[in-house]
C-alpha cells in the first residue's frame, strides 16, 4: 500500500506539476525566442522567478504521502505493545502445526507469511507487535526478521482496521473506470479518512494494487474479519458504481452476506454486458488433417 499511496493520492498533483513544467519550458522558449535580440530585462527575470516560485509552491502543496496502515516503526500504545500477551488460539495452534509441517524442519522460517496471515485473521485483521513476536517464537527467528516481512507486504496491517476492511483497487484500469469516485464515495459515506476505522469499528477503507479483475473494473475487495479466522473471507465485488458500494456497505452493516462477483446484473461473471455479441453459434473446429487418408 506504500506504492498505493504514491499511485492515486499524489498522482493528480504530480501530473499537474509536470504538465505545468512542460508548459513552462515551451513558454520560456517562446519568450526567449521573442526576446533573443533584445537584452535581458530585469522584469523578465522577475516574471520568470515568480512563475518558478509559484511552481515550487505547487510542488510543496502536495499532500504528505500516506503510507499503508502504519509507519515503518512501532510506537507503543495501550493496545499494541510488546508487553501484551498474544497467543494463537487452540484451533489455530493446530493450523500452525499444519502450516509448519509443509516446510522442511530446518527451514521453519519459510512459514512466516502464512503464519502472519493466520495471526492477522485471528486478531481482527491487524498485527500487533506482540503477534509478530509470537510468530517469531514459533518459527524460531529473531523478531526483527518477522518485522521485516510484515512491513514489506502491504497486506499485513499493523494498525487497527475495521471488521470489514474495504480495499479499493487503484491501479490504472480501475482508475480509468472510476475507482477514485468509488473511494471518495466510500470515505464520504462512512465519514472516515483512508485507513481510519469507523466509530463502530465495523469499516475501514484502504487501497490496493491490481487484483487481476481489470475486465470487471472497477472493483473493491471486502476482507471480512468479523468471524475470526474461521469465518474469514476475502471477496471481490466487481463492476461497482458509487451507488452500489454504498448499498454493499449497508448490506454488510446489517450483518448480511453478499455473494461475491460482478455487481452488474446484466453481466455474467466477466462476460460482456447484455450477453454475447460474438461467438454466438457453436464454434467451428479447426481444420484438421484427414488422418485416415494417410
Amino acid at each position: 500500500m506504500i506504492s498505493n499511496g504514491l499511485n492515486s493520492a499524489t498522482y493528480p498533483e504530480i501530473v499537474s506539476a509536470s504538465a505545468s513544467q512542460i508548459s513552462l519550458s515551451t513558454e520560456l522558449r517562446s519568450l526567449l525566442l521573442a526576446e533573443l535580440n533584445s537584452s535581458w530585462s530585469s522584469t523578465m527575470l522577475a516574471r520568470l522567478a515568480a512563475q518558478r516560485l509559484a511552481e515550487i509552491r505547487q510542488v510543496f502543496r502536495q499532500p504528505i504521502r500516506s503510507f499503508s496502515t502504519a509507519l515503518n516503526y512501532h510506537i507503543d500504545s495501550p493496545d499494541n505493545n510488546p508487553d501484551l500477551l498474544w497467543e494463537f488460539s487452540d484451533a489455530n495452534k493446530e493450523k500452525v502445526k499444519e502450516i509448519i509441517s509443509q516446510y522442511p524442519s530446518n527451514y521453519k522460517q519459510s512459514a512466516v507469511i502464512p503464519l502472519l496471515d493466520l495471526a492477522q485473521q485471528q486478531h481482527g485483521g491487524w498485527l500487533p507487535v506482540s503477534a509478530m513476536n509470537a510468530v517469531a517464537k514459533v518459527i524460531e527467528v529473531a523478531p526483527i526478521r518477522v518485522y521485516e516481512v510484515a512491513t514489506f507486504y502491504s497486506m499485513f496491517n499493523r494498525t487497527k482496521v475495521g471488521k470489514y476492511h474495504l480495499l479499493v483497487c487503484g491501479t490504472t484500469p480501475c482508475m480509468i473506470r472510476g475507482s477514485r469516485e468509488i473511494k471518495d464515495t466510500l470515505l464520504k459515506h462512512l465519514g472516515v479518512k483512508r485507513n481510519e476505522v469507523t466509530k463502530d469499528g465495523l469499516f475501514s477503507v484502504g487501497e490496493m494494487e491490481c487484483m487481476g479483475c481489470c475486465v470487471n473494473a472497477p472493483m473493491i475487495t471486502v476482507a471480512d474479519y468479523s468471524n475470526g479466522s474461521e469465518g474469514y473471507t476475502y471477496n471481490y465485488y466487481e463492476d461497482v458504481t458509487p451507488q452500489r458500494v454504498v448499498e454493499i456497505v449497508e448490506i454488510l452493516k446489517r450483518g448480511e452476506k453478499l455473494p461475491p462477483g460482478t455487481q452488474n446484473p446484466r453481466r455474467i461473471r466477466s462476460g460482456p454486458e447484455g450477453g454475447n455479441t460474438t461467438l454466438l453459434g457453436e464454434p467451428k473446429p479447426p481444420p484438421c488433417r484427414d488422418l485416415d487418408a494417410c
Binding site: I2, S3, L6, I14, Q21, S25, R29, L32, L36, W40, L45, L48, A49, R52, L53, V59, F60, Q62, F67, L71, N72, Y73, H74, D76, P82, V129, V141, A142, P143, I144, R145, Y147, E148, T151, F152
Partner: protein, 747 residues
C-alpha cells in the same frame, strides 16, 4: 531547481544554448557528461577493434590483495581490461578485478560480510553479457572478459550514482562522514555533475541506537552493511530492513538500543554518514586529525588501533587492520574509552600533608620523600604492584628497582598470589587468536570471552558460524552471542569431564581441532593449581595438545599480564601486602586497599585519579598509553608497541623514567637512560618482548609441570568482569563508558 539556479540558467543561454550545434541540448538536460557516454553501445563497438596490448606492465593487486589457491587445479583465467589474471574457482568478478589491480566502486559489498548485491554500484561490462553485471555477486567464469573502463560500465555507474543521490540529502557540509565518505568520493570519481531529480527528497525518522551510534537515517542508501554486520559478526539480530520501495528504511522496528559490544564498528562500515560516532559528532573533521598507529590496552587482546588526535587532544580511536588479532573490528570499549584520557588526570607530583589533603610539590621533593621512606623500612616490607595498563618497560624498571632495594615482592594485578610463570604455555593463548578459526569444538572454562575479550569472542562466533563448531561453557549463567551448551557452573562439571563421565567429553575427544579456553579469572582462586591440572588432564585425555595442534589456552584479562609473567613479576610470599610498610602501586587500582596496613606508606604512580589515589601518600603522575612508547604483549604472546599520539598531561612522565629517576635519588641508580637501553635489559630477561609485531609461541607444553596435590573446592566460578564498559582507570574515568554501562548493560 532553486531561484539561484534559475537565474544562472537565464544568464547563460544566449552564448551557449543557441550557438550549440545540438539544439536538443536546450530541451533536454542530459545527464551524460561526454558524447560517447550518450551512446555507449556504439562507441563500445568502435572501441572494440583495438586489441589488448601485448607487453602490459604488471599491475599490483588492490590493497595488496593476496590470492590463495586452495586447490591448484581449480585455478581459472579471466581477463580484466585485457590483463590475464589467474584466480581460484569460486571468486567473484569483483575479487578478480581486485587481484588484477582494478578497484571497483562498491557500497554494499564488504569482504567480511555476506554478499547482498543491492547497491548496483559495482556494475561492470562482461563480454557476451547483454547487460552490465553486478560484479560483487557474479562468480568469475573461465575465460571471462571483464571490462571495467568501458563507456557501458561508466554509464552504468553514473546512472546508479544518480539514483543513489536522488534521495540523499545535500548536507555534506554538516555531515561527520564528510572527507571520509564513500558516497562523496565515488560520486566525485564516477558520478555525473548533475542530477535530474526535481521532486521532493524523502526523509526518514532517526533511530535511537544508544549512546555510541548517532543515526541520520535520511542519509542512508540502504546498502544493508549494518544489518549484515549486526546479524553476522556482532550476533545481535536487532537491525533490519523495514518497508519497501521508496519507503524502505533501516531500523529496529521496536525501540531498541544496540546492545552489542561491537556496535561501534557499524560506524566504520557505513559507507555514508547515516551511522556516525555520537561522541565524535561535530567535534572535528577527519582531515584535521593526526593519526598515530598504536595498540589498545583496555583488554588483553591488543587490538591494533589508530589514535586520531588534534593538538593535545585524542579525538577518536579507530581500528587498524590486523588479520591475526582484530581483523578490522574493535570493541566499543577500545573505540570509545578515549574521553577517559581527558578526565581525572593526575598532572603534578603530590604529597599528602598532615591534614590529609594533597599538596602539589616538585618532582625533586616528591622523589626525595619516597626515596627516604623506602630506605627506612625493611626490604621484605617493600611491595610493588604493577597495574593492568603497565607496559613492559615500566614493569622491568619496577622489578629491577625493587630487587635492588632487596625486595622481591612484586606482581601484576590479576595474576593472583602464586602465578604459574615458569612455562609460557601455562598463561598464553597457545592456539593463537587467528588459529581459533580452525577449531570445531570449544570448551570455555570460567571465562566469558564476550566481556573479557570481545575480539576473541568475535573470532569464536565466526568459527561457530563457519564450521558449526560446538561450544561448551562452564561458569555462571551468561549470554554468549552464539549457540552454546551451558555445562555447569563450577569445578564439579570440570571433574566430570576429566573423569570422562560427562557427555561433552566425547564431543571434545572426537573433535578434529578441540580448543579449551581457561579464563584468567581463575588465577585468583585458592585451588587454581588443581583446576589447571584438571584441565590439563582433560587436554591429555582428549588429545587437545598434539604436535601439530595446541588447543589448550588461557585467556588473559588485561594488557600487562602476559608481559608481567614473561618478565617474572611473581611475588616471593603470598601475603606480603598485609605486612607491607612501603607499597609502590604502579597504576594498580584493583588491589584490595583494605589489605594494606594503616601505617604503610603508599606511593601511587599513574595517570588517573582512580581508586588507589584515595589511599596514596605520594602521587607520581605518569603517562597514559596514548602518550608513551611502550611494549605490550597480548594474550597470545604477540608483542606490539604503542606510540605517543599526544603530549603528556602537565608534569607527567613516562613510567619507567619515573622509576629510573627514583632509583637515582635512592642511590641505587638503574643502568639505563634510554628506551633502547631498557629494551636491551628486557632482551636479557624476555627476548620475545622486543621482537615486535611477532607472535612468539610457547616452546614447552604444560605436561612438564609437576602435578598439584591441592584439594579442589566446589565453589562455582564467578563473573570476572562485572561491567564490560568499565574495567580500568581509563574506562572508569570515561563519561561515554558510564553512559554505556547505565544504558546497555543488562540488569
Amino acid at each position: 531547481m532553486g531561484l539561484g539556479l534559475l537565474a544562472s540558467k537565464a544568464m547563460r543561454p544566449a552564448s551557449r544554448i543557441f550557438n550549440s550545434q545540438n539544439p536538443r541540448n536546450f530541451l533536454f538536460r542530459t545527464i551524460v557528461s561526454k558524447p560517447e557516454l550518450q551512446k555507449p553501445e556504439t562507441s563500445a563497438a568502435q572501441a572494440q577493434p583495438d586489441p589488448p596490448p601485448v607487453d602490459l606492465p604488471p599491475r599490483t593487486p588492490v590493497a595488496g590483495a593476496r590470492v590463495h589457491f586452495p586447490n591448484p587445479d581449480d585455478a581459472i583465467e579471466v581477463f580484466v581490461d585485457g590483463y590475464p589474471v589467474k584466480i581460484p574457482k569460486g571468486m567473484t568478478v569483483l575479487q578478480a578485478c581486485e587481484v588484477a589491480g582494478v578497484d571497483i566502486p562498491r557500497f554494499c559489498y564488504h569482504s567480511r560480510l555476506s554478499i547482498a548485491g543491492n547497491c548496483r554500484m559495482c556494475l561492470v561490462e562482461v563480454e557476451k553479457s547483454p547487460k552490465p553485471v553486478a560484479s560483487c555477486a557474479m562468480p568469475a567464469l573461465p575465460g571471462m572478459k571483464i571490462k571495467t573502463d568501458t563507456p557501458v560500465a561508466k554509464k552504468a555507474r553514473e546512472g546508479v550514482m544518480e539514483f543513489l543521490l536522488m534521495n540523499h540529502p545535500l548536507d555534506c557540509p554538516i555531515c561527520d562522514q564528510g572527507g571520509e565518505c564513500d558516497l562523496q568520493d565515488q560520486s566525485m570519481a564516477f558520478g555525473s555533475d548533475r542530477g535530474r531529480f526535481t521532486e521532493m527528497k524523502r526523509s526518514v525518522v532517526d533511530k535511537n541506537l544508544g549512546p555510541l551510534v548517532k543515526t541520520v537515517m535520511t542519509r542512508c542508501i540502504q546498502c544493508t552493511r549494518c544489518v549484515r554486520f549486526a546479524t553476522e559478526v556482532a550476533g545481535v539480530q536487532d537491525l533490519g530492513m523495514l518497508g519497501r520501495g521508496s519507503g524502505e528504511e533501516i531500523g529496529t522496528y521496536v525501540e531498541k538500543l544496540m546492545t552489542s559490544e561491537l556496535s561501534g564498528n557499524v560506524i566504520d562500515i557505513c559507507p555514508v554518514g547515516a551511522l556516525t560516532s555520537k561522541p565524535f559528532a561535530f567535534k572535528a573533521r577527519n582531515w584535521e586529525l593526526k593519526g598515530t598507529e598504536s595498540i589498545d590496552v583496555t583488554d588483553a587482546v591488543g587490538s591494533n588501533i589508530r589514535i586520531d588526535s588534534r593538538g593535545p587532544e585524542v579525538m577518536r580511536i579507530v581500528p587498524r587492520l590486523n588479520e591475526d588479532i582484530n581483523e578490522e573490528w574493535i570493541s566499543d570499549k577500545t573505540r570509545f574509552c578515549y574521553d577517559g584520557l581527558k578526565r581525572q588526570r593526575l598532572n603534578d607530583p603530590m604529597i599528602r600533608g598532615a591534614d590529609g589533603r594533597f599538596k602539589v610539590v616538585s618532582w625533586r621533593d616528591a622523589l626525595a620523600v619516597v626515596a627516604e621512606v623506602a630506605h627506612q623500612v625493611k626490604p621484605e616490607e617493600i611491595v610493588g604492584v604493577a597495574g593492568k595498563l603497565s607496559d613492559a618497560e615500566s614493569m622491568m624498571a619496577l622489578k629491577d628497582f625493587l630487587n635492588r632495594m632487596g625486595s622481591n615482592n612484586i606482581w601484576c594485578e590479576g595474576t593472583g598470589m602464586n602465578p604459574n610463570a615458569d612455562l609460557r604455555s601455562g598463561y598464553l593463548m597457545n592456539t593463537s587468536i587467528a588459529g581459533l578459526e580452525k577449531a570445531d569444538v570449544f570448551l570455555l572454562v570460567g571465562t566469558q570471552p564476550r566481556v573479557e575479550a570481545a575480539m576473541v569472542n568475535a573470532r569464536i562466533r565466526k568459527t561457530v558460524r563457519a564450521n558449526q563448531a560446538k561450544v561448551g561453557y562452564i561458569g555462571p549463567e551468561t549470554d554468549l552471542n552464539y549457540d552454546h551448551q551451558h555445562l555447569g557452573t563450577g569445578p564439579q562439571t570440570l571433574l566430570e569431564i576429566a573423569e570422562r563421565r560427562h557427555p561433552f567429553y566425547s564431543t571434545l575427544a572426537n573433535a578434529k581441532h578441540p580448543v579449551i579456553i581457561v579464563g584468567a579469572g581463575l588465577f585468583e582462586r585458592e585451588d587454581k593449581d588443581t583446576i589447571f591440572s584438571t584441565v590439563e588432564t582433560i587436554a591429555e585425555n582428549a588429545k587437545v595438545v598434539r604436535p601439530d595442534w595446541n588447543g589448550l589456552n588461557v585467556l588473559l584479562l588485561n594488557a600487562a599480564q602476559a608481559a608481567a609473567l614473561d618478565l617474572g613479576l611473581v611475588p616471593e610470599s603470598g601475603n606480603s601486602i598485609e605486612s607491607a610498610k612501603f607499597v609502590y602501586l604502579m597504576g594498580a587500582d584493583d588491589v584490595n586497599l583494605d589489605k594494606i596496613p594503616g601505617d604503610a606508606f603508599v606511593v601511587y604512580q599513574g595517570h588517573h585519579g582512580d581508586r588507589s589515589v584515595y589511599r596514596a601518600n605520594v602521587i607520581f603522575p605518569a603517562a597514559a598509553f596514548s602518550e608513551k612508547e611502550g611494549i605490550y604483549e597480548n594474550t597470545e604472546g604477540y608483542a606490539q608497541q604503542t606510540f605517543p599520539a599526544v603530549p603528556t598531561v602537565g608534569d607527567a612522565r613516562d613510567d619507567w623514567k619515573i622509576i629510573r629517576a627514583l632509583s637515582e635519588v635512592a642511590g641505587i641508580k638503574l643502568p639505563y637512560d634510554s628506551l633502547g637501553a631498557i629494551r636491551a635489559r628486557i632482551r636479557t630477561v624476555a627476548p620475545n618482548l622486543v621482537h615486535l609485531d611477532e607472535r612468539e609461541p610457547a616452546t614447552f607444553t604444560a605436561s612438564l609441570k609437576p602435578a598439584s596435590s591441592q584439594k579442589i573446592t566446589l565453589t562455582p566460578f564467578e563473573n570476572v568482569v562485572e561491567n564490560f564498559y568499565m574495567t580500568d582507570s581509563i574506562t572508569r574515568a570515561s563519561k561515554i563508558m558510564a553512559q554505556c554501562s547505565a544504558l546497555l548493560t543488562k540488569k
